[in-house]
């Protein structure tokens, strides 16, 4: 397969970026999107040009490092997968593919397609944890947890923190990410005890870092590679408002 790629090139955080067009030829339909970019970079290096910078790590959909806004979709047009698990057979042979970095005030571009997602780490550090002793592991069945609660917690915990939610949201809101973190812990007895403090601290940090306000469009859950539901946002709202009313 052959493709024309329109890729955002930006030298560093301070310089002004622009789209540049490249061509890749003889790409196998089973090539992953990131492998296709590897092939392009190989060609660029051989031609003595600067390769395209993009984030990636595990390439099996669990680390949350890959990003990319591809043809208007966060993580490309495939549903429920990260960019690394999307394959070139999803695209029409000979088509033009536009590749942009995440666009959000809280995710500044560092270089080309790489953005700084440190804001999500800061939100996590503000409250996305449980303060429990970690030296002795208790028996797994010591605290009974209903299956439905455990499942719901796991659904929220499947968030890989890739940033697609804030990148997709027209308001640049990080609510789905924060909600997934708050919800996964709030549904478990170990996390429940610090629920109020967590919700307040994480929302406060999210607001401070300049993320926008949720307007319930649901665009985030449509683009989330882990299909985290906005029902977790409703729970975050509940947790936060209940905590504030108790103050």
């Amino acid at each position: 397969m052959n493709f024309k790629l329109k890729i955002w090139r930006q030298k560093d955080a301070k310089s002004k970026g622009e789209f540049k067009t490249y061509e890749v030829k003889n790409i196998s339909a089973d090539t992953s999107f990131l492998e296709m970019l590897d092939i392009l970079n190989n060609d660029l290096v051989h031609a003595g040009e600067e390769p395209v910078a993009f984030d990636h790590d595990c390439r099996e959909g669990i680390c949350g490092m890959c990003s990319l806004h591809i043809n208007g979709h966060a993580h490309g047009p495939s549903q429920a997968v990260t960019t690394c698990q999307m394959y070139m057979r999803k695209f029409k042979d000979g088509s033009t593919i536009t590749i942009e970095p995440w666009r959000s005030a809280a995710f500044p571009v560092i270089k080309d397609l790489v953005v700084n997602r440190g804001a999500y780490d800061e939100i996590l550090q503000a409250g996305g944890f449980v303060s429990v002793r970690t030296n002795s592991v208790p028996d797994g069945n010591a605290i009974p947890i209903p299956k439905a609660d455990a499942d719901e917690s796991m659904d929220a915990a499947s968030c890989v923190g890739c940033g697609a939610c804030a990148a997709t949201c027209k308001n640049g809101s990080a609510m789905l990410f924060v909600a997934a973190r708050v919800s996964s812990l709030a549904k478990l007895p170990q996390g429940r005890v610090e629920g109020a403090r967590r919700a307040k601290a994480m929302v406060a940090k999210m607001d401070e870092l300049g993320f926008g306000n949720c307007t319930n469009t649901g665009a985030c859950q449509a683009q989330c590679p882990k299909q985290v539901s906005i029902a977790h946002i409703a729970r975050l709202n509940r947790e936060f408002l209940a905590a504030k009313l108790q103050d």
């Binding site: 806004h69 959000s104 308001n171 929302v203 949720c214 307007t215 319930n216 469009t217 649901g218 729970r235």
Partner: protein, 247 residues
């Protein structure tokens, strides 16, 4: 406690939710009041007399105006936040995500149309009814379709309604207004539950169904009055032109 409603994203959304809920309830009340004109012009004018320049109607008007103002001002604050959060650099390619309604992404524009319609409506009705009574200027003057002079008692709402909707362009303007309100409510009514935290995956289809039903009822309830008044304007004017207050 008072501050989270002004300085946190979730708190600000709660204010939108509560004021929105209040306005929907008012609109439902206003609609049921209007519908009486279809059955009895006399009954409608009784309601108008009851809601004249007395302390309870004036107090309710002030509260209502406050609700509109808060909803409107918060909408601008939130949208400005969101615009900043989105960042200066926008996506070159965007798509309409699956399951994301057009209304949900255009709530401010729809709200502005609703407010413009409201301004026109206040000029048409409120300024000739309650305001006239407050200012003790007993009568408001107008001209009917044939150019004959009409004299309004400020509580003769049925005559004013028939007179206003005897003009086709007013009917069209009001229908556009109601349509914008319909779109606004299809998102707003279910969204108010989400923002307050009362929603989950089981309830989304139900809440969205309720939102569509409420929006449609409100649209039809108001539209039928405007349309009927247009077609029966001469009958209604003839019936009500010599009406005198009974209370």
């Amino acid at each position: 406690m008072s501050c989270f409603l002004t300085n946190s994203s979730v708190g600000k959304k709660l204010v939108m939710s509560v004021t929105g809920c209040f306005l929907v309830l008012f609109i439902l009340f206003h609609m049921s009041m209007n519908l009486t004109v279809l059955f009895s012009r006399e009954a409608y004018n009784l309601v108008c007399e009851f809601l004249g320049a007395n302390w309870y109607a004036l107090a309710a008007t002030v509260v209502l105006a406050g609700g509109v103002a808060v909803h409107f001002i918060y909408a601008f604050i939130l949208t400005l936040d969101n615009y900043r959060a989105r960042g200066k650099q926008r996506y070159a390619v965007t798509v309409q995500e699956k399951g994301v309604s057009w209304a949900s992404k255009n709530m401010l524009v729809l709200g502005i149309i609703v407010v413009l319609g409201l301004a026109l409506h206040l000029v048409h009705f409120w300024s000739k009814m309650q305001l006239v009574e407050v200012l003790h200027s007993q009568f408001a003057m107008g001209v009917d379709a044939n150019g004959a002079e009409l004299t309004f008692h400020p509580a003769n709402g049925a005559l004013l309604m028939a007179f206003t909707f005897s003009k086709w362009y007013n009917v069209v303007l009001y229908l556009v207004w109601f349509a914008a309100l319909w779109f606004h409510l299809t998102h707003g009514v279910w969204s108010m539950f989400q923002s307050a935290g009362f929603a989950n995956d089981t309830w989304y289809p139900r809440l969205k169904c309720v939102a569509n039903v409420v929006a449609t009822l409100i649209f039809l309830g108001f539209a039928v009055v405007a349309v009927v008044c247009f077609f029966k304007s001469s009958d209604f004017i003839a019936e009500m032109v010599n009406w005198t207050p009974g209370l």
